[in-house]
Amino acid sequence: MIWHIAKRELYDNLNSLRFALATMLLLGLMLTNAITHLREHPERVQKYRDAVAKHQSLLTSHAENSLYELAQQGPGRLYKQPSPLRFCAEGGETFLSDHAEGGYHRWSTDTLKSFWILVYPSVTPNVDNVHPEVTKVDWSFIIGYVLSLIALLFTFDSISSERERGTLRLTLANSIPRHTVLIGKFLGALISINIPFILAVLVNLLVISTSSNVHLGTEAWERLGIIFIIAILYMCLFLVLGLLVSARVQRSAVSLVILLLVWVTFVVFMPGTLASIAGGSASSGPTRGFYEYSWQVHNELSAQYRSRRRNASENSTQKVQSAGEYVIKDAEQQERLHEERLKQRIDQVNRARIITRLSPVTIAQHLLESFAATGFERHLQFLENVQSYARQFRVFIADSDKADPESLHILGVRAGMSEKPVSPEAVPKFEDALNLSKDFNIAATELMLLMLFVVVLMSGAYLAFVRAEV
C-alpha cells in the first residue's frame, strides 16, 4: 500500500511545474559548478606543485651545504595539498592559509643566528579584495540552500492540499493506517526530488571526470558516495519538516509561508548571526600587540644570556654551550608563543562552530567540508601533520648530529654542530596525508546530530498527522 501511495505521489509530481523548474535549476547550478571547477582546479594543482618543487630544491641546497645550515634554516614552507573534491565544498579555503612557515628567520647577530620555528601565517584576502562578496556555487551551496528549498516546495502542500480538496478524507476512508499514508507521501516526495538531483549530480560528475585535467581516485569516489548520502539525509530533514507543517496547518498557502520563513531564519540568517554572537564574545587581541610581546620575551631572554656570558669563563666549550642553549631556548619560546596564539584563535572559531550547529545547514556544510577534505577541520588536520613533521625533522637533525664524531653535539650554534653535508634523500619529507577514517571520526558527532534532527522531526510529523483532524 505504501508503494501505491508513493507511486501516486510520484506521478503527481512528475507532471508538475515544480519538477521541471527544480530540474532546470539544479542542472544549471551543477553545470556551473563543474565548469568552474575545471577552470580553477588545474591552476590550483599546478601552483601547489610548483611551490612544493621550489621548497624541495631549497631544502636540498641547505642539506648539501651542511647539517648546521639545514638545522638553522629549517624545513621551509610546508604546503597544504589541494583537495580534488573542492567542488563539493569550498569550505572558506580562501580564508585559510595554504602553507605553514617552517623557516621563520627572526634575528641574527655577528656570531649567532636564530633557529627556525614553526609559525602559522594567516591570510586576509579581504584587504585588497574589492569585488562583491560571493558564496561560491559548490555542492554545499546547492545542497544546503537550493536543495533544501526545493524539498520544502515539494512537500508543503502534500497533506494540506489533499485536505483542501477533500481527497485525504477519501484516502483515509479506506482501511489504510495513517502512518502508511505519511510514509508513502514521504517516499514519493523523496523519490521525485531525487530524480532531478541525481540527474544533476551525474551530469556534474560526468563533466568533471571526463576532463583529463582532473583526476578522481578511488578514495575520492568513496568520499563522493558519503557526501551523496549526507545530501539525501539532509534532504529528508526538510521533507519531513514540510510534512510536519503541512499536517498541522489547514491551508497550503499558510503552510508555505511558515516553511519559507523557517527556512530563511534557519538557513540564511542563523549561521551568520550565531557566529557573530559566538565569535564576537572574545577577542584574541590585535596582531601588533602579539609581535611586540614576542619581541619583548626575546629581549628578556637575550639580556639574561648576555649577562651570563659576561660571567662565563673563557672556556670555549662552555661558551658554545651557553650560546647553543640560548638559541634553542629562544626558538622554543617563540614557537610556543605562536602555537598559543594559534590555539586561542582555533578555540574561538571552534566555539562559534559549535553554536552554529543549531542550524541544519551548517551541519550539512561542516559534514560536506569534512568529507571533501576542505575547510576548517581539514586545516586543523593539516596543522597537526605539520607539527608532527616538525618534531620528526628535529629528531632527524639531532640523530644525524650524533652520528658525526667530529661534532660537539651542541645544537644551536655553528661551532657546536656537524658541518658535514647531509644527503637530501635522507631528510624526512613532509606528507600531508588525508585520512578518510579520521575524517569520519571527526564528522561522526555532526552526522549523529543530523540524524537526530531527522528522527525528531519524523516523529513530530507522525504525531501531528495522527492527531490531525481531517
Binding site: S16, L17, L21, L25, L29, N33, I35, T36, R39, G92, F95, L96, S122, T124, N126, V127, D128, N129, V130, H131, P132, E133, V134, T135, K136, V137, F141, Y145, V146, L149, I150, L153, D157, A253, V254, L256, V257, I258, L260, L261, V264, T265, V268, F269, P271, G272, T273, A275, S276, G279, G280, S283, S284, G285, P286, T287, R345, I346, Q348, V349
Partner: protein, 500 residues
C-alpha cells in the same frame, strides 16, 4: 471607490495568519541582528580609537622628521549596520609617507584579531529586507489576481463601473501599505536600538540617508510585488502562481548573484601586472642609480648614505616590494638624539644629500604613480566593476548597490577616504617643501631640538555629504523604478485584455 478597494485589500492581507507570522519572524531577526551588529560596531569603534591614540602617541615620541610614522585611520561607518558593504572588509589604516602614494591596496587593518573569523558570513539589515520582505511581497502577490479569478470575486468586482486599471492600482497600493508596515516597524525598532546605544550619534544627514534606504527598500519590495502580480495575472491558477513565484524568488535572490559570480571570473587578474610592475621597478632603479651617483660625486665620505653620523639613536633603511599590488619603494632615514661633536663637519653634506634624496624620491613616486594608478584600475577595479554590473541583472544587485551607496559603504565612498589620504600626503609633501624640511637638520637628527608634530597639516575626513550619496544611489534606484513601471504596464496590458 478607490478607497473602498484599497481598504478591502488591506483587510484581506493584514488579517491573515501569514502576515502575523511574517511580522513576528521579521522583527525577531531585526532585533537579534541589530543587537549583534551594534556590538560589532562598538568593537570596531573601540579598536579605531585605540589605533588613533596609539599612532598619535608613537608619532609624538619620534624626534626626527625622517623617522616619523604618520598613520591615518578610517573610522567605522555607523550606517554599516544597515548595509555593511565594504566597510568592514577593506583596510582601515594607512601609512602616509612621501615615499609612496597611499591607495586602498596599501592599507592594513588595525587590530585585526582572529583571521579565521572571516570564515563566517556577515549579516546586515538590508540582507533581511532583501530576502524576507521580498518573500513576503511575493506571498502577498501570488494570489492577488489568480485567487480572485479562481474564487470568481473578480467577476463580481468588475460588475461595478470601475476601470480595470483602478482595480489593479488599488490592489497595488493596498499591498504596498501592508508591506510598509513590517518595513517601517523593523526600521523603527532598529533605530530605537541605535539611538539608545551610547557609541552611535546619528546626524540629520544620517537620518536622511536612512530615509533613502527605506525608500529604496520600498521600491525594491514593489518590484517583487509586481513580479508576483505578473505571475499571478499570467497563470490564473493560484497553485501554479505560487510555485512559479517561489522559484523566481529562489533564482533571483539566493541563486543568481552567487551563480553568475562563480561562473564569470571576476577575481583580480593576478599575473597581468608583470609589465607594469617591471616598469615601476625600473623607475625606482633609476632613482637608485641617481642616488649612487650623487653619493659618488659628493666631496665627503663617499658612498655611505648615512654619512657615518654617529650619536645615540639609530639609522634605518627600509623598502617594500609587492608585485601583487605593484607596491615598490625604498627610503632611508635616521633617528639620532644626539650627535658626536667630531661629525659636525659632515652635517651640511648630509643635509644636502637628504634634500636631493627627498626631492628625487617624490619625483620618482609621481612617475611611478602614473603607471601604478591605471594598472591598479585594470587589475582590481575593472573586474570588480564587471562583477557588480553582472549582479545588477537581478533586482537584488540593484537594491544592494543603491543601499550601499546611501549608507556610504560602497567602493566609491571607501575610495573617498583614500583620495583624502592622498591629498593629505600632498599637503605634507608641500609642507616639507615650503619649510625646506628635507634640507633641515631635524630631518635626521634631534640634537638641536625635536620636531613639533603639531605644525604639520592636520588630517580630517568627512564622509561624503548626502548629495553625493544620493548621486551614487540614484542610477540604481532609477533602474529599479523603471523596471517597476515597465512591469506595471505589462500587468495592466495583460489584465485589461484578459477575459474574466
Amino acid at each position: 471607490m478607490l478607497i473602498t478597494l484599497i481598504r478591502r485589500e488591506l483587510l484581506d492581507n493584514l488579517m491573515t495568519f501569514r502576515f502575523a507570522v511574517a511580522i513576528f519572524i521579521m522583527l525577531l531577526l531585526v532585533v537579534a541582528n541589530t543587537a549583534v551588529l551594534l556590538k560589532d560596531y562598538d568593537k570596531r569603534l573601540a579598536s579605531y580609537n585605540t589605533a588613533v591614540k596609539k599612532n598619535r602617541q608613537e608619532l609624538l615620541e619620534t624626534k626626527t622628521y625622517s623617522a616619523g610614522h604618520i598613520s591615518l585611520n578610517r573610522a567605522p561607518n555607523p550606517l554599516s549596520i544597515f548595509n555593511i558593504g565594504l566597510d568592514k572588509r577593506l583596510g582601515n589604516e594607512i601609512w602616509i609617507s612621501y615615499v609612496y602614494m597611499p591607495t586602498l591596496w596599501d592599507a592594513n587593518k588595525h587590530g585585526t584579531d582572529n583571521p579565521f573569523l572571516n570564515l563566517f558570513t556577515s549579516i546586515d539589515l538590508v540582507l533581511i529586507f532583501q530576502s524576507v520582505l521580498s518573500l513576503l511581497a511575493l506571498i502577498f502577490a501570488y494570489d492577488s489576481l489568480a485567487g480572485e479569478y479562481e474564487r470568481g470575486t473578480l467577476r463580481l468586482v468588475l460588475t461595478h463601473p470601475v476601470g480595470r486599471g483602478y482595480i489593479l492600482f488599488a490592489k497595488y497600493i493596498g499591498a504596498m501599505i501592508c508591506l510598509l508596515v513590517p518595513l517601517l516597524m523593523s526600521i523603527l525598532l532598529s533605530l530605537i536600538l541605535l539611538t539608545t546605544s551610547p557609541s552611535i550619534s546619528l546626524s540629520t544627514d544620517d537620518f536622511l540617508r536612512i530615509g533613502g534606504i527605506v525608500f529604496t527598500s520600498l521600491v525594491y519590495l514593489s518590484l517583487f510585488y509586481l513580479i508576483g502580480m505578473l505571475i499571478s495575472a499570467m497563470t490564473r491558477r493560484t497553485s501554479t502562481a505560487l510555485m512559479l513565484a517561489m522559484f523566481v524568488w529562489g533564482f533571483l535572490v539566493p541563486v543568481y548573484p552567487n551563480m553568475i559570480l562563480t561562473a564569470v571570473e571576476t577575481a583580480p587578474k593576478i599575473g597581468t601586472e608583470a609589465s607594469a610592475y617591471n616598469q615601476i621597478k625600473q623607475i625606482w632603479e633609476k632613482h637608485d642609480r641617481e642616488q649612487k651617483q650623487f653619493l659618488a660625486n659628493d666631496a665627503f665620505p663617499g658612498d655611505d648614505w648615512d654619512f657615518n653620523l654617529i650619536g645615540t639613536g639609530y639609522s634605518f633603511w627600509g623598502g617594500e616590494d609587492d608585485p601583487l599590488t605593484l607596491h615598490y619603494y625604498d627610503y632611508t632615514g635616521s633617528h639620532l638624539e644626539t650627535l658626536e661633536e667630531k661629525y659636525e663637519l659632515r652635517v651640511p653634506h648630509a643635509q644636502n644629500y637628504h634634500h636631493f634624496l627627498g626631492t628625487n624620491i617624490i619625483n620618482t613616486v609621481e612617475r611611478a604613480w602614473l603607471i601604478r594608478k591605471p594598472a591598479l584600475e585594470t587589475i582590481y577595479l575593472q573586474p570588480a566593476r564587471i562583477g557588480r554590473m553582472l549582479l545588477k541583472v537581478s533586482p537584488v544587485g540593484l537594491y544592494d548597490g543603491a543601499t550601499e551607496a546611501w549608507a556610504g559603504t560602497d567602493l566609491k565612498s571607501i575610495q573617498d577616504f583614500f583620495s583624502a589620504a592622498q591629498r593629505h600626503r600632498r599637503a605634507i609633501v608641500n609642507h616639507f617643501y615650503d619649510k625646506e624640511i628635507f634640507a633641515s637638520r631635524k630631518w635626521f637628527t634631534a640634537d638641536q631640538g625635536a620636531v613639533d608634530w603639531n605644525t604639520l597639516p592636520q588630517f580630517s575626513f568627512q564622509r561624503s555629504d548626502i548629495g553625493t550619496n544620493a548621486k551614487r544611489a540614484l542610477p540604481d534606484l532609477f533602474l529599479l523604478m523603471m523596471i517597476n513601471i515597465i512591469l506595471f504596464t505589462i500587468i495592466l496590458l495583460i489584465f485589461v485584455k484578459s477575459e474574466v
